[in-house]
């Protein structure tokens, strides 16, 4: 769910409070020089993978700054400014025209990763932070049948989707052989359409050898992430991955 979080407010220095009766107007307050920052995080299954090793989820983080007037230009930020995503630095630069901060980078997610934490630091202090959870609800999908994960060509698997994701219609189901075969970024398609019934999603199994990871997308495709913290940013957005899985099966002749 899109959330709007207001920027930092101007605090009144204690010294100013002491002189209020003498006319401590807003004009006497220091200007708010904190940067006006927007941030978004979008989690998705890596459709650009070129090998089994690159399969998994990643989160794309975009951070942008806008000016506080000043003709649309931003004041330079301290050299100590750092953007940290789940403990890793995000490379950023300045827009050539506005001199506003801009940066975007993709970060790999752990297999069971659900959270994204973004911090902006200046001089060692955190001036803005965002926390988003439930970014990969599809990891809660489970394989109901076969219970041992052993499949055969022409058989099917039964997938119980999580309640957090739409599952009435499944698109782009794919089996990624992990041990053999030519790698395809979209995996092997089932030989027939999947069927959603009361007990879950029935997916026909294609022919492959050995172990494979199964994933699928439910529709509609957009799933909001859960932004639990948005401090110091003017706006925080999070989009969760809508992919079900991965679930692991092993095909035997």
């Amino acid at each position: 769910m899109r959330r709007i979080q207001l920027g930092k407010t101007v605090s009144i220095p204690l010294a100013c409070l002491a002189t209020l009766p003498l006319g401590c107007s807003d004009d006497a307050l220091p200007a708010d020089t904190s940067p006006v920052l927007y941030v978004s995080a979008t989690c998705s299954w890596n459709r650009a993978a070129t090998s089994v090793a690159e399969l998994g989820r990643s989160t794309h983080v975009v951070i942008d700054q806008t000016s506080r007037g000043n003709g649309g230009n931003c004041a330079p930020l301290p050299a100590s400014t750092r953007v940290i995503v789940n403990g890793e630095p995000l490379g950023w630069g300045y827009d050539a025209e506005t001199q506003c901060l801009k940066g975007d980078q993709t970060f790999a997610m752990a297999a069971d990763g659900q959270s994204v934490a973004i911090e902006v630091e200046q001089d060692g202090s955190v001036i803005a932070q965002m926390q988003a959870n439930a970014m990969a609800p599809g990891t809660k999908a489970r394989l109901a049948a076969p219970s041992d994960g052993i499949v055969h060509p022409g058989g099917e698997i039964l997938v119980v989707p999580p309640t957090e994701l739409p599952s009435s219609y499944i698109t782009i189901p794919g089996f990624y052989p992990l041990e053999s075969g030519t790698f395809d970024a979209y995996g092997l398609n089932p030989p027939a359409a999947s069927t959603r019934l009361a007990d879950g999603i029935h997916v026909p199994v294609p022919t492959f050898v050995g172990r494979a990871a199964f994933v699928a997308v439910g529709t509609p495709p957009y799933v909001p992430g859960l932004v639990t913290t948005c401090d110091g940013f003017i706006e925080c957005n999070a989009t969760a991955d809508n992919m079900l899985g991965p679930l692991y099966v092993t095909e035997e002749p």
Binding site: S167, R196, P220, D231
Partner: protein
């Protein structure tokens, strides 16, 4: 609601939302924006139906960042109250109430603990209930045969996109409910809409969708304590009506 919905933000509405609300000049001023829509992908059977999304905001908090009571809560009709937690300087909080399946008024109450701060009532928040079952009269239809429904006389011609059967029978434990889509080629909203019952069987809520998508905005029928309050509801979806698909 799981589908993408275009949200008109509370901020954008404030200027035009004084319709139908009294202004007792509470301090701090609080505004209400309510949106009603069908829950496209409910996670549980109880969540099937219309959703009421209640956005409560304190516009002055955008600049003043004043403290709010930790005991604020909101409820709709007899639903369990939900806490209002506006972290940091957030000036509005969105809460969602699921599973409205009756053509009934809704009353939204904002409370501080048990003390009522503001409330608003909308007499007809779910216009989709205007859809009527035409045949079979008892709603029992064989798989592959037709069920007919009728929409109220539309103000303009609208093509019908399709129909959806939201299955009502309890699924196995831990499995979310689902729905089946049935296309209705050539159907128009100005005439009875015939829908072919799917191959699956069981009890279902039948809803129909028709273009164009638009939203209607209304003021509250009665209110107190809110500086402004409006409700929007989509004209896209009509229903539900109860049916049972049998072999």
């Amino acid at each position: 609601m799981n589908s993408v919905r275009t949200w008109v933000t509370l901020a954008a509405l404030l200027g035009a939302s004084a319709v139908g609300c009294s202004s007792p000049d509470p301090d701090p001023k609080v505004a209400l924006y309510t949106s009603v829509g069908w829950n496209d992908d409910p996670g549980t059977l109880d969540a099937i139906g219309y959703q009421v999304q209640v956005d409560i905001g304190w516009p002055d908090r955008a600049t003043d960042c004043f403290a709010l009571s930790p005991d604020l809560n909101v409820t709709v009709n007899d639903r369990a109250p939900k806490a209002i937690v506006a972290e940091g300087c957030r000036w509005d909080v969105l809460t969602t109430f699921d599973g409205f399946l009756k053509d009934e008024p809704i009353t939204i109450q904002l409370k501080d603990g048990a003390r009522l701060l503001a409330e608003a009532t909308y007499n007809r928040p779910f216009p989709g209930f205007d859809m009527q079952l035409v045949s079979p009269a008892d709603g029992t239809v064989r798989s592959g045969e037709k069920v007919a429904v009728a929409l109220p006389e539309p103000t303009f011609e609208r093509p019908v996109i399709g129909a959806m059967f939201y299955w009502r029978d309890p699924p196995p434990e831990g499995v979310p409910p689902f729905h089946s889509i049935v296309h209705t080629p050539g159907a128009r909203a100005s005439q009875p809409i015939e829908v072919t019952a799917p191959t699956l069987t069981g009890r279902a809520w039948l809803v129909v969708t028709a273009w164009p998508y638009s939203k209607s905005m209304f003021g509250a029928d009665a209110s107190s304590g809110f500086e402004s309050c409006v409700i929007t509801n989509p004209e896209l979806l009509s229903g539900p009506v109860a049916v049972e698909v049998v072999p």
